[in-house]
Symmetry: C2
Subunit: 140 residues, 2 copies
């Protein structure tokens, strides 16, 4: 219920001031109440909401997904099936990124391992880049 200026909200949540304004603009945070001098004021509820947003971003949820999750969180009596779906879709995205990254890791590691540390002309790093056919997987 306290009247926090944006800087205090920033400190309490670890979200930078311009980012908070950006979230307001993006529709994640509500239009903040203003003082007479046009400064934004926040309550402890806003602190909670911003922490929610921050945590979801840290977990890699996109702004659009967070908007949906926040919409759900505001209606505690509805079924949470939708939240479940959003999280599952996100999990699938994480898993596919993981698979890709793992393949890349192997390929780049192999590239480095095969480098004989001689001249550029003989360097496997350069050669592999020049020719996809020399790759083990075709995940990329």
């Amino acid at each position: 219920m306290r009247d926090l200026p944006i800087g205090a909200l920033s400190e309490r949540t670890g979200v930078k001031v311009p980012t908070i304004r950006y979230y307001e603009q993006a529709g994640l945070m509500p239009q903040a109440a203003r003082t007479e001098a046009n400064r934004r004021t926040y309550s402890t509820q806003d602190v909670d909401r911003l922490r929610f947003i921050r945590h979801a971003r840290e977990l890699g949820f996109e702004v659009d997904a967070i908007r949906q999750l926040l919409g759900l969180a505001d209606q505690p009596d509805r079924s949470c099936a939708e939240a479940d779906v959003i999280a599952r879709v996100h999990l699938r995205e994480i898993e596919s990124k993981l698979a890709r990254l793992t393949a890349l890791q192997a390929e780049v590691q192999r590239m480095i391992d095969e480098c004989a540390h001689g001249r550029v002309g003989d360097c496997r790093v350069i050669q592999v880049l020049a020719d996809h056919g020399q790759c083990v997987s075709d995940a990329h």
Copy 2:
């Protein structure tokens, strides 16, 4: 040595036409020779260079790193130590992304597993997002 228009280069490499122009602008591809009517023309060397670029992008190398790798590839007699360093730095970046993503995967998976499929008010997905303290790892 053939005089390829940009569309043919695009087909041969799988890189879209506007992207090729962007690479020229970004200094990855050289300023292309032009016909009398001001159209870009390319040789088979350009095909090779663009394939190199594309492959490196697919392996996640940033444009800046590719610029450096291309600079090295142009000097086959130099030591390939620099190429090695670029690749190793990139590998480290991949590994750190992998570590982060793996932690996120576990967290989101757990969130989903704990969801009792009831009301939003009781949903673990929402609760976990609202409170970082409920996370297992603090990787994020």
